[in-house]
């Protein structure tokens, strides 16, 4: 699908808690096909300190209403500026960027594992998988109950399991300690979250001989494979997270 540069209108900026918000964006042209795992490059206006675009994964797509959703964590000046944007404001995006998660075959047993803001690309992935008639298991991990990001929508798309590190909601501990993870009843695992978590999940999958795809987040300038800044070490040398990823099968990474 050709990449586009396009203005979107903010339909809603929904604050989830102190750290997270969801931008619902109205497309001005009809949306192209967007694959699960793809991302957008958001232009942040207003300050020379937020000079470069910010890569943000697609949280959800509603083709019928022509809406794109971005789930964003406030981590610095760029995301902080975005969090203060209002309904009716214009946001310029370059999209759709990057590769995508592979779509499982109908007989595959599928587990989605998300940690913190890493759950962002999994909603749309779950939707795409569910539309294939597959009921995935969805394992979401958070630090504690106050850090939980809304996950109600995932219930419509799969069997949801929850962990918090302190046990304040769901099972206590890390996602890798959850029974659903230990059971190894899956053919494919899709994972996004903090690097430590993804590495632990990747290691678990390697030992259990399960295909594991992760979505990486690296510092980017262009997002289109021109600057070569966002590289990740792979068994075939440095690859660009923006065009060779953001989704990688962990067997290809030097993890």
């Amino acid at each position: 699908m050709p990449k586009r540069i396009e203005d979107f209108i903010i339909r809603r900026n929904r604050k989830l808690n102190d750290d997270y918000f969801v931008l619902e964006l109205d497309g001005m042209r009809s949306l192209p096909e967007i694959k699960p795992g793809q991302f957008v490059q958001v232009k942040v206006e207003g300050s020379p300190e937020t000079f470069l675009r910010r890569p943000v994964s697609v949280h959800d797509v509603d083709y019928q209403r022509n809406i794109l959703k971005l789930l964003i964590q406030i981590v610095g000046k760029g995301t902080e500026t975005l969090s203060r944007m209002n309904q009716g404001d214009t946001l310029n995006l370059i999209y759709p960027l990057g590769n995508s998660f592979s779509i499982p075959s109908k007989r595959d047993r599928v587990l989605l594992v998300g940690g913190g803001c890493g759950i962002a690309p999994l909603l749309y992935l779950a939707r795409c998988i569910a539309s294939q008639g597959i009921m995935p298991d969805i394992l979401l991990g958070f630090r504690n109950k106050n850090r939980i990001i809304e996950y109600e929508e995932y219930y419509d798309l799969g069997n949801v399991h929850l962990t918090t590190e302190d046990g304040s909601r769901g099972l206590r501990g890390l996602v890798t300690g959850h029974p659903v993870m230990k059971d190894n009843l899956f053919d494919r695992v899709y994972c996004c979250g903090p690097e430590m978590m993804m590495k632990a999940v990747a290691l678990h999958c390697r030992e259990a001989v399960i295909s594991c795809e992760v979505s990486l987040e690296n510092l980017m300038a262009c997002g289109i494979g021109a600057c070569l800044c966002c590289v990740v070490e792979s068994i075939r040398g440095n690859l660009c997270t923006c065009i060779d990823g953001p989704v990688f099968n962990t067997k290809d990474l030097k993890w």
């Binding site: 990449k3 020379p48 300190e49 000079f51 470069l52 262009c222 021109a226 440095n238």
Partner: protein, 304 residues
């Protein structure tokens, strides 16, 4: 209609806007956004004899009105270039220019000889100013004697248009421009990135794996403009202005300072259409100010 055509040596450009090496990939990365043949020229990603993996991640840090990079000339080498990249870029209807890099003088010469045989490559940009490699790169471009030797050797090995890309990390860039001119360069392009660094105060680690890197973007524009102005007064060969050009107004400043052509770099990361917008904006500026040709405003800075 205003005339945008310019020449560098014997080489004609349909307009004076090129894209800077390392910021435009091999052109094809931008084909979804516009017809890259509209550009005056495309300077391809820096190429070396052998394939290079570049520096470890992190190799980029955002800074106020700019960015630091330490990519370190990641590229697949000249064999791969000839086999896979050259056939694609040959199809572009614009001047395709290869930016060449080496650790040793012999590398530059070998590359020049190979590229001399490629019909569809219009020129070489001799990169003696990369700040992000351990050997070669800026070491050539910050030493007058090595600048002289490498320019002379590449000139002898290459029959077509030769552009020497200069480093701003010197006391007097004009001296290096003069050396390039004396040794037969058809043009100089400046500036490459300014050596800089950033530290994450939370981790107390440098933001780049290499500690230092090259600064680009609007932050460097005043420095670049000053250097282009000084250089344009000092040499007779064309000066190609580079450094933080984000829009047509920035570009016009470089022409007024004496540049014959310009390169758009970091701007393409934020707006992939920057370079074509700049072409259109220059055209508008010339029309509005009743100039017939881009060459009319070259060096037209009003110092009265």
């Amino acid at each position: 209609m205003v005339k945008l055509e310019i020449s560098v040596g014997n080489l004609k450009f349909k307009n004076p806007v090129m894209t800077a090496s390392g910021t435009f990939g091999n052109g094809s990365e931008f084909e979804d956004f516009f017809d890259v043949s509209r550009l005056g020229g495309i300077i391809l990603k820096g190429t070396t004899i052998e394939s290079r993996e570049g520096n470890p991640y992190p190799r980029m840090a955002e800074t106020p009105a700019g960015m630091l990079n330490a990519v370190g000339l990641q590229n697949k080498g000249i064999d791969y270039f000839e086999k896979y990249i050259y056939p694609k870029v040959s199809l572009f209807d614009t001047n395709v220019i290869v930016n060449i890099n080496g650790s040793y003088l012999e590398d530059y010469v070998a590359l020049a000889e190979r590229i001399d045989k490629l019909d569809k490559i219009a020129a070489i940009e001799l990169n003696i100013s990369c700040p992000n490699v351990k050997m070669g790169g800026m070491a050539f471009g910050t030493n007058p004697q090595s600048t002289r030797e490498v320019t002379r050797a590449v000139r002898a090995a290459y029959s077509k248009t030769l552009i020497v890309k200069l480093s701003p990390n010197v006391t007097s860039i004009v001296d290096f421009a003069r050396i390039a001119e004396e040794e037969g360069a058809d043009a100089v392009s400046l500036i490459n990135t300014l050596l800089g660094m950033a530290i994450d105060i939370r981790t107390r680690k440098p933001s780049l794996s290499t500690i230092t890197g090259g600064l680009s973007g609007p932050a460097v524009k005043p420095v670049a403009l000053r250097m282009v102005w000084q250089t344009a007064m000092a040499v007779k060969i064309p000066v190609i202005g580079i450094g933080g050009i984000m829009n047509a107004s920035d570009a016009v400043e470089f022409f007024l300072a004496g540049a014959t052509a310009i390169q758009v770099g970091t701007a393409s990361f934020i707006d992939p259409l920057s370079s074509v917008k700049i072409i259109e904006g220059i055209e508008n500026y010339l029309e509005e100010n009743k100039f017939g040709s881009i060459t009319d405003i070259k060096g037209l800075i009003n110092l009265s």
